[in-house]
Subunit: 515 residues, 2 copies
């Protein structure tokens, strides 16, 4: 259990009324009051000066002071008339800004309780599906402000129904923690991401100063401090730091690997002694992007597929149990694994049209395998879809390989493989190994940890100590740049087969193929 | 000589270009560069993040970083592309915001040189001549914003011609120090002064956080830090702290008194061990306000008056030497002293009409003494004028008395009487003693120190050390509230005579009267 000690600290003061003999200034009186609670050398910013006299006197010298730990020490970020009873603010927001998906957690801060979750596509998708295309839009097309406004709208649209549902005013929410990859973070904060894309790939910052919700236009208390989880490098962001923080792999002696597979695949290897990280581009396909019938892993998505050994037809499971509307990443991986084991596709991912199967058909767009069909709806997996997934899984596996070789280790040295990210929730480990995306290791080594980016933001809302720990993790991680590695390209090409060019690395898959 | 070490610190950096092996973030690179100059733990505020990447790259990693010492440590307040050569900013402004007069000094910061001075009436006068009436206007009539805008316009109107004269752009001026009494300071900063007027007379703050010129609307570099000299209490402001700093009375073993006589009369007594201060309201008459032909001590003002013993007519000197346009405070004091010594007015300040003099006449508004008359112009001193001055001088003398009694000292214990303020420049010490405004002490003890409020602001622009010293002075001063002192009222009433009810306290004046 986390000891709840939010990074936003509230102090309820009852100050003595000034007299002719106790006639220090309002600011001094406030500082004296804070000092009595052990808060010394608190910075009081100019913007709070104007309302200071009024705020102190409105409720007879009872005030609530909100303090936040800044880079340089503690600062007053809000001052409201009235004491504990009058203080309505008690909620915080943890926001995971993914390239494809945005998730918001509403958190009851005093109780430490997760109250509600909302999520949606990142509306920025219309400007490009991956970070690179968005950086280009922000840079070459001057669209930075537009992209920033889009994600802020996004977040506001998620907050509004939650506020309505729980009858909260803006004033009820008074702190925010953001977690995202470096590009998403910079776009949200309005920082030019141009240099993330260009060699030598430099972000504006990895550790960001605290700003306020109001400055960014997020519809909560305008003074609400907005803390951003620190990033490591241009392609390893706060979401990964949040992942390490959540799994606690940085506190264990044994070696672990953390993988957060979304539009980008980020990998971390290490233990309490050291941490190394790298990133490879998977593209949006694991989140349903760029696939003919792809969709996110939400209600209506086919997330599990088996091929009936007799009929060779697909047997599907659908999230929510209703009629299928599309197929999500894990559904596609299942499909490919099944097609491969049943011999319906080749090592290269080509669908066999020579078997005379009704559910394999050729269209103008290429060959496809039918997952579901009724009068109203058709859902298929196409050869280009399979190709997309092959490239994505190969990039990730190559990332593992290069990273391990860099530190002179093998898959067997790793005690735990943490899987993070929304995508991982529906991922069938077995099938992911069959297609050669994950290493062929004992299945019990794999642990799904959920959306660790959101969880990391959530726990940082609750604990100033963990926020500090996140910064330590970010500073401790060594980043390895893959994009300039020749070795990586060789590994990538070797991985563009099912399960892999080097079948001996996949003994259990070889065994399944033989049966 | 002041060692020039401006509170605004400029660092010219030439950063190494990032590479794949030296790929820290832009912010980290900047901080690393600053650390090499010995600046560690520098706060980098969020508002500078957006332009950071661009600013670093625009001139090939040459940048000028402007640092300011805040309450909590050093902060970057501006970052401009280019090094020393590109840096146009080199001027600062010292602004003395008086109740009646506003003075601006343009200072060449690297050279420490005073380049130009401009001054004007404080336009706020239309809302009331003294601080109390302006506080009432700000409070009861909701005029705070109006008063703030007025003084900002005031300052801008003084800066514009200076900028034009020296061909300066806004960017050339990049720091401001403000010195003023507590009310003027709060009005300038937009802080509600209501509580300054009401018992127990509490200002919002005595030490103000640094803000920026842009936030207040002053037309210099928007990021230019604006430092406000610290105040002591509601009626002893930064102007007095500036006065102590300028005279260095806080560094001497012997006792001194500093008096800054303007619309308010502030007094400080003390030495390197201790400082005590008080304030009494003089009203605007010493600055020419509320007098029938009163004006500020500028060109055209009668500043010296003698009465010819034969003709009993006034012999005047005029500032600038041209035709007189009015009479300033020192001119009035001279007149009263002369009228008194020549027996043309009574101890109570009544003008004698029984002498049949041509230059004493009765009008509907009362009796008056003619200072100057030609076909176009008439300038007189009226009985209400004299009454005004009597009340003002009596308040100041009572302030001296009560303060000395409080610390168990007498006028003889004081080695130096420092006279500060624009008004003091033209003040004839002899005449001020004759009317009982200043104590009857050896004349050589009195030293005029000029506009120490402006000088204090000027030296604080040049030296971070002196800024620190100003804060130490403010903290060290004990404030004595006169307005609630019964003793003060008694002394005040005793002083409403020429030179004083207690003539024995003015032996040299008694001697003059006898001759």
């Amino acid at each position: 259990m986390i000891k709840i000690k939010p990074y936003l600290k509230k102090v309820h003061l009852e100050l003595p009324e000034p007299t002719l003999t106790d006639n220090v200034s309002d600011k001094e009186r406030l500082k004296r009051g804070l000092a009595q609670f052990g808060f010394h050398n608190i910075n009081f910013p100019f913007r709070l000066m104007r309302e200071l006299a009024k705020n102190l006197r409105m409720e007879d010298w009872k005030v609530t002071v909100v303090l936040v730990e800044m880079d340089f020490g503690k600062e007053v970020v809000r001052l409201s008339p009235g004491g504990r009873d009058a203080d309505q603010c008690k909620y915080g927001l943890a926001v995971d800004v993914g390239t494809t998906t945005i998730v918001v957690y509403l958190v009851d801060l005093p109780a430490g309780r997760l109250v509600d979750i909302a999520s949606t596509y990142n509306y920025q998708i219309i400007y490009g599906e991956d970070v690179i295309s968005r950086i280009i839009y922000a840079t070459d097309k001057g669209g930075l402000k537009e992209l920033q406004d889009t994600v802020i709208d996004n977040i506001n649209n998620l907050i509004e129904p939650i506020k309505e549902k729980f009858g909260l005013t803006e004033e009820c929410i008074d702190s925010i923690v953001i977690s995202g990859n470096t590009t998403m973070t910079q776009l949200l904060l309005g920082l030019d991401p141009a240099w993330i894309r260009l060699e030598p790939y430099i972000p504006t910052a990895n550790i960001f100063p605290i700003t306020s919700a109001g400055r960014l236009g997020i519809n909560v208390t305008p003074d609400a401090p907005l803390y951003t989880l620190p990033c490591v490098a241009s392609y390893v962001g706060g979401d990964i730091v949040a992942g390490v923080l959540t799994t606690k792999m940085h506190k264990r002696e044994e070696l672990s690997i953390l993988m957060d597979i979304g539009t980008n695949g980020e990998l971390v290897i290490g233990n309490s002694e050291w941490l190394m990280t790298t990133a490879c581009s998977a593209g949006p396909c694991f989140e349903g992007g760029g696939l003919k019938y792809g969709m996110r892993a939400t209600e209506g998505a086919i997330d599990g597929v088996k091929i009936n050994p007799q009929t060779l037809e697909a047997e599907i499971t659908v999230i929510g149990g209703g009629a299928p509307e599309g197929v999500c990443g894990s559904g596609i991986i299942d499909t490919i694994a099944e097609l491969f084991l049943k011999g319906l596709i080749t090592h290269k991912g080509q669908i066999r049209t020579d078997l005379g199967l009704k559910n394999i058909r050729s269209t103008q767009e290429g060959v496809e395998f039918i997952l579901f069909q009724n009068k109203k709806k058709l859902i298929t997996v196409t050869e280009p879809d399979i190709d997309n997934i092959l490239r994505a899984k190969s990039a990730i596996y190559a990332g593992f390989m290069v990273m391990l070789q860099e530190v002179g280790l093998s898959f067997n040295d790793i005690s735990t493989y943490y899987i993070a990210g929304g995508f991982g929730r529906f991922l069938n480990i077995e099938k992911a190994i069959i297609i050669g995306m994950l290493p062929d290791q004992p299945r019990k080594k794999f642990k799904y940890f959920g959306n660790t980016s959101a969880t990391g933001a959530y726990i940082c809302l609750l604990s100033a100590q963990l926020r500090k720990e996140a910064e330590d993790i970010a500073k401790k991680m060594t980043y390895m740049e893959l994009s300039v590695s020749r070795h990586f390209m060789d590994e990538y090409v070797a991985g563009l087969f099912l399960p892999h060019t080097n079948l001996s690395a996949f003994p259990s898959v070889a065994e399944m193929m033989a049966t």
